[in-house]
């Protein structure tokens, strides 16, 4: 259910971007002949020194924040069962979970906020309408109905002493490879710069799209002319006389959120208090909360292992004490990433403050969280302490075998030498390991300087089938018992004999 909601949000976002972009492009295209409008826009620009926001910009600026996307009540929910909306001052929280910024909020009923130590998280104090949705046991907010930023400065206290006072700063989320992939947070002027760069490139793309349509229309007109001539004269044109079609521009693959303002919190591990001091110098009611900043218990390198013989059944191994066991010769692919082990309760609560039951009863559980993937390292294969192979990261493509029979091959992604791969993307990037199941090995990752990445070593052992020996060995104590019993009987007989 949670997945389908995220999927719906993601699809909505992508659709919104696509629709607004298409509408803007169409408008730009249809506006080619409307000289007076352009003149007005130009006059406004000249006269006031500021351009009217483009539809693309309007779309970017109207995108809701991550917290709002994650916790916004749908119209269906607001319309069902007459939920009792309550106006509250809440903390909207976008915590970093190692891979992305999640979205949650702390309503008045929640008194502790959890954040990861030494990483930036975004906090904001806002007034909104809150209600409890009993079907999913979570608090929801009607951000679209009411979203007011509560002015003031955020005070952070430790042991009753104010240790820091934060002003709101501009922030922007940036996705270098598009939404749903790597996410970065930029703060202050850098956030504005990154966003403006993205917006300019997006505008340039839409300009290029308009130019493309214009060029395409012109090309089509020339082609129609040529066709007409050929039909009339019956003489074919020389290929050099046929114009090249215009090339369609490629849209930016990255994405940047329009900057907003909030409190960027980055604290070392510890228990703090936060509160908002208003412009009148008073503490804003309902803003005093406990802030639990937690750190990892262990750090290491997690392996995503993709076995070649069943590549869709990949598995994770994060704990350095894990051993990879092989049954015979095996080929497998390793996708490494930095990993950190956190308390499950704190890690889950961090991103689910609005769900009171989430993570409850798990204070004794620990979990590994994936961080950024490791791409600048080499995989070393060792046997008896000697490096026998160094493997580099390469892209691979899973090619289905043609025909009705099931099957696939995993091939190195090399579109230059394999025409079938042209225009396609690699299925995954990984380190390919091929090991014979006859001896034990060790795997480890080393950086460019040859330093072993902490927690990256794993033992690999081929398992042997022991047959019945595995049941014969446990009988050893029984054999010893029989010997002892026999010896006791013998000594008892001798004793009796002596007595006789």
């Amino acid at each position: 259910m949670r997945f389908s909601r995220y999927l719906a949000i993601l699809i909505s976002l992508v659709m919104a971007v696509a629709l607004v972009g298409a509408a803007w492009a169409q408008e730009a295209e249809s506006g080619q002949g409307e000289e007076p409008q352009q003149e007005v826009a130009g006059a406004e620009s000249d006269g006031q020194g500021a351009e009217a926001p483009s539809p693309a910009q309007q779309m970017l600026e109207s995108l809701p924040d991550i917290t709002e996307i994650a916790t916004q009540a749908s119209q269906e929910q607001i319309g069902q069962g007459q939920p009792r909306l309550e106006e509250q001052v809440v903390y909207s929280v976008s915590p970093w979970n190692g891979r992305e910024y999640k979205g949650t909020f702390a309503p008045r009923q929640v008194d502790t906020i959890y954040l990861m130590a030494n990483e930036y998280s975004i906090l904001n104090v806002q007034r909104t309408q809150v209600y409890f949705w009993p079907i999913t046991n979570e608090y929801m907010a009607d951000w679209f109905g009411l979203r007011e930023e509560v002015p003031g400065t955020l005070e952070i206290l430790r042991d009753g002493q104010v240790i820091d006072t934060l002003e709101r700063t501009e922030y922007s989320y940036y996705f270098p490879s598009g939404i749903g992939r790597e996410q970065r947070l930029y703060l202050g002027e850098e956030a504005v710069r990154v966003y403006e760069d993205y917006r300019n490139r997006l505008n340039a793309y839409y300009d290029a799209v308009s130019a493309y349509y214009e060029a395409h229309r012109e090309w089509q007109r020339q082609m129609d002319e040529i066709l007409r001539e050929v039909q009339e004269t019956g003489q074919y044109k020389d290929p050099s006389e046929i114009p090249e079609p215009p090339k369609q521009p490629t849209p930016p693959t990255d994405f940047a959120y329009s900057p907003r303002t909030a409190f960027a919190v980055n604290l070392p591990e510890g228990r703090y208090q936060v509160r908002l001091r208003g412009p009148d110098g008073e503490i804003v009611p309902d803003t005093t909360k406990t802030l639990e900043v937690f750190d990892s218990r262990r750090q290491g390198v997690g392996y995503l292992v993709i076995p070649e013989h069943k590549w869709t059944r990949s598995f994770q191994t994060n704990d350095p004490s894990d051993i990879l066991y092989l049954d015979g010769r095996r080929v497998f692919y390793i996708v490494p990433h930095h990993a950190r082990e956190f308390n499950f309760y704190q890690y889950v609560k961090m991103a689910n403050l609005h769900k009171p039951l989430e993570g409850e009863g798990t204070r004794s559980v620990w979990t590994w969280a994936q961080f950024e993937p490791i791409t600048q390292a080499k995989l070393q294969v060792l046997h008896n302490g000697e490096v026998i192979e160094e493997i580099a990261l390469k892209p691979y493509y899973v090619r289905q075998t043609p025909g009705y029979a099931l099957g696939y091959n995993i091939v190195e992604f090399d579109p230059e030498n394999d025409p079938l791969l042209q225009g396609r993307s690699p299925t995954f990037e990984a380190y390919r390991v091929e090991l014979e199941g006859d001896k034990s090995y060790q795997l480890r990752f080393v950086d460019d300087a040859g330093n072993v990445l902490i927690g990256s070593a794993r033992e690999v052992r081929p398992i042997k089938s022991p047959g019945n020996a595995v049941y014969a060995i446990p009988l050893f104590p029984f054999a010893v018992g029989l010997v002892v019993f026999g010896w006791r009987r013998a000594t008892a007989r001798v004793g009796k004999g002596e007595e006789a």
Partner: protein, 276 residues
């Protein structure tokens, strides 16, 4: 009674009892059965699952059968200590002993050290058994396994102390045996259910299951201090985390646990007397 006499009494009692244990066949039969059970678990869990998967990441798979073995052996010795004291009381042996140079401290410690020595013998057999199994299956026999084996001495110490306390606090053999087995079973089942519930922590649970989890977790906060199994599990976890501090703490807390239980046993002896 002077310390010297007491130590002598403990030595004599321990020596007599351990000789009796080693000359009997019971311990060998029980050990063979325990090892057979653990081998069966091992073959049907680890070896088959690796063979089915082709490649699998596991914590050293010897750990589970080792845990089963040392857990059963420690329970067996705890039960033996409980039985032994109850039987001594029932048969009047205890009363006779206490007319001689034996007091409650030397009697309790004699029983305690006897079972610990018996466990050291079991540990030697365990070492041979699991080393041989790791050799024929190539699963590896690491320093972690040795650390867990060493840690199991303290599990046995807790279990034996627990058995002694129960037998001292009850007057009938059957009551002490049933109580010991029921409590150990409860600790084991609770530990297993708690571990299972916590292992599905990432999955969506119904509100009822979440409340069950909360109750279990709160109960665990109490039970982890009285269950001997939990002291051992904490130590095992420290071994896999390569956490020497946690490992030492587990040993220290097991020793304190044993000391407290043995002191309580001595106190109860003195309060209740040794007569049937």
């Amino acid at each position: 009674m002077s310390v010297g006499y007491r130590i002598h009494a403990i030595k004599v009692s321990t020596k007599r009892e351990i000789r009796s244990t080693l000359y009997g066949v019971g311990i060998y039969v029980v050990l063979a059965l325990i090892f057979l059970i653990s081998s069966y678990v091992f073959v049907n869990s680890t070896l088959r699952s690796v063979a089915d998967a082709g490649i699998q990441a596991l914590t050293n798979p010897i750990t589970s059968p080792l845990f089963v073995s040392v857990g059963l052996a420690a329970t067996y010795l705890g039960l033996c200590s409980s039985l032994s004291i109850s039987r001594d009381r029932d048969l009047g042996t205890m009363e006779v002993l206490f007319y001689g140079p034996v007091d409650s401290i030397s009697y309790v410690l004699g029983k305690y050290f006897h079972q610990l020595l018996a466990y050291l013998v079991i540990l030697v057999f365990s070492l041979i058994n699991f080393y041989a199994i790791s050799l024929v299956t190539n699963v590896g026999f690491s320093i972690d396994i040795l650390s867990i084996m060493f840690l199991s001495i303290f599990l046995t110490s807790c279990m034996v102390s627990f058995g002694i306390l129960l037998s001292v606090s009850t007057r009938r053999v059957i009551v002490s045996v049933v109580l010991f087995l029921a409590l150990v079973l409860f600790f084991l089942v609770f530990s297993m259910v708690h571990t299972w519930i916590m292992s599905i922590a990432g999955q969506n649970l119904t509100p009822t299951m979440v409340y069950v989890r909360v109750i279990l977790d709160n109960a665990n906060n109490f039970i982890k201090w009285i269950s001997p199994v939990d002291y051992f599990l904490r130590g095992m976890s420290a071994v896999f985390r390569q956490d020497p501090g946690g490992y030492a703490l587990s040993i220290l807390s097991s020793l304190i646990y044993s000391l407290v239980l043995l002191s309580l046993s001595v106190g109860m002896f003195q309060r209740k007397g040794v007569r049937r």
